[in-house]
Symmetry: C2
Subunit: 336 residues, 2 copies
């Protein structure tokens, strides 16, 4: 940055984060502040057209808060996307109409800005590296346990992308071959065992099998809506032994996956985020103990698990950093 002019140093970037629950937009300053932040529930039942229009509207509103014209728009999105083209692949948990959707091109035309689109986990990892829990780290894995399980790998300073930009799906590694069926169709993926809905379903199975239990009472009290992960978390905090057992088993699976990650990636750090993991802060210490004891040397001595510092803001802050990525940022600007 030695030769950067003041204008470049004080640049802003428009950021959009399309999550499973919320769509958020903001102007992000070069030093990671959010201006004009907007947030609206993702109308997941609506058509792709409506969601696209909402995205463009929120981004446009957030742009009004920028003191200078933003350098471009970075978009962080749940589900798989081709980062080189901004076209969505068939996302497992969204309407089928999203498959092949040219999200990047649409927003470029609507907003007349350079646009880069990437997976939300990639964006969040970049944000933690620049502003959060792993500043300056060159080798780390970002793992988020939430409604789904997302992950991103930074190796030797670069995002692990794979042939199609779809690498990093650590939630779809089988950890329990006889476990529950996953949304992806396989049995016993980490996501099918440890994501929020999976925890709810485990509690539901337990309630069905044990009509007198506390979890059965919880189930009845919900009047037909499914038990969710946070219900189980609350029950465990209130001392329900079955809820505690379920969360302990989930924690063991997450911890074992983290040991696997240390053996596979030999990272300096693993950043653990997502609502489910943030509600179980003991997982951090348990994972650190387990990897010291069970991962291979020398990786076991180097790695350390740390909690996210940016939490829900990671995707939005990271979206703004996508335009700095050497691989696709440059490519999109050339297309302008």
């Amino acid at each position: 940055m030695a030769n950067a002019s003041p204008e470049v140093k004080n640049h802003t970037t428009l950021a959009l984060d399309i999550g499973g629950t919320w769509i958020r937009a903001a102007t992000v300053t070069h030093d990671g502040r959010l201006l004009g932040a907007r947030k609206q529930a993702n109308p997941t039942t609506s058509s792709a057209t409506e969601i696209l229009a909402l995205c463009a509207q929120l981004a446009d509103e957030a742009r009004a808060a920028s003191p200078v014209p933003p350098l471009g728009l970075g978009v962080s999105t749940t589900g798989p996307v081709n980062p080189r083209t901004g076209v969505l692949y068939d996302p497992p948990n969204t309407p089928a109409g999203f498959s092949g959707l040219p999200l990047g091109q649409y927003l470029r035309e609507q907003l007349d800005l350079a646009v880069v689109v990437d997976r939300d986990a990639n964006a969040a990892a970049l944000a933690e590296q620049r502003f959060g829990a792993v500043r300056g780290c060159t080798d780390f894995v970002y793992l988020t346990v939430s409604t789904g399980i997302g992950a991103a790998v930074i190796a030797d300073g670069e995002l692990l992308r794979g042939a199609d930009g779809a690498a990093g799906e650590l939630g779809h590694v089988v950890v329990a071959p006889d476990g529950p069926v996953c949304g992806c169709g396989r049995r016993g993926c980490l996501e099918a065992v440890a994501a929020g809905p999976a925890i709810g379903r485990a509690a539901d199975r337990h309630a069905q099998a044990n009509p007198g239990s506390g979890l059965a009472k919880l189930r009845d009290s919900l009047g037909g809506t499914p038990i969710r992960g946070h219900h189980v978390g609350v029950a465990a905090l209130e001392g329900d032994p079955d809820a505690r057992k379920i969360l302990a088993a989930v924690g063991a699976a997450v911890v074992s996956s983290i040991v696997d990650i240390v053996n596979v990636f030999n990272p300096q750090r693993i950043v653990l985020g997502g609502g489910v993991a943030m509600a179980q802060p003991n997982w951090i210490e348990e994972a650190n103990d387990a990897l010291r004891q069970s991962a291979l040397q020398p990786a076991s001595e180097t790695a350390r698990v740390v909690p996210t510092e940016l939490g829900d803001n990671g995707g939005l802050l990271g979206a703004a950093l996508l335009l700095d990525q050497p691989d696709h940022g440059a490519r999109h600007r050339r297309q302008e």
Copy 2:
């Protein structure tokens, strides 16, 4: 290579491959031919000093076959090593005296050559990329199922190294949480389920539980020496139903791990090698069917599993390529 002088183009490199069973050495030509190849059983019961002396001797003999002074020595070794220094970490299946052994420095002094040391799986992956099954591929995973399970990942054209050069231990990912204890101490690693000795132990457990079975007869016929993977392979070929069942279960674990690998790395290719896998050629087709059906899109459409083309020569050929690696090759030469 447009500006390469004839001498550089026709260079040779000395290569040493220190395996669990054999130590091999050769002069490798720039186009991948082996000259003056030497091979001797690894005296695994001997001291580190004796093994080092044998390595230096074999390399020196192989050097005599080189028509020009070799550019340096590349060493491919089983077990973890710091590729930047050539110092061995504590290898799981070799004498404890190897921990901290400065293999690179020793050979540099003995042979008066630039020396680069790396994991055998990394070397074999580079060899398959230059001379074998994945010429020109930028994103692939090399997986060898043999006495142990080794792996290397090439992502965006570069070896995945991790913070200490120890990344890629895909054999130490848990695939069967209730499975047999692994040499690394965890339960149910892929290596504890699918490597040759693990197959032998599974057959042994079956023989003990079923005294009248074909596997029990096989066990008795060995007079106290343990059943090994290749015995089970022969029994399966001869129609023994229990041996077939054991190998089918092992194949399913390997295939499931390959689907995991596709989700995690989004590779163009997976190269499957090693004695155990090469004896089960049906695993290639089974893995391709499974990943088409079960891996996430778009990775499932891109990936293809292919057999090794170089087999046992991969480590030796790849050792010679280590000196071309931008990261540590240059570093070692500067130390000269």
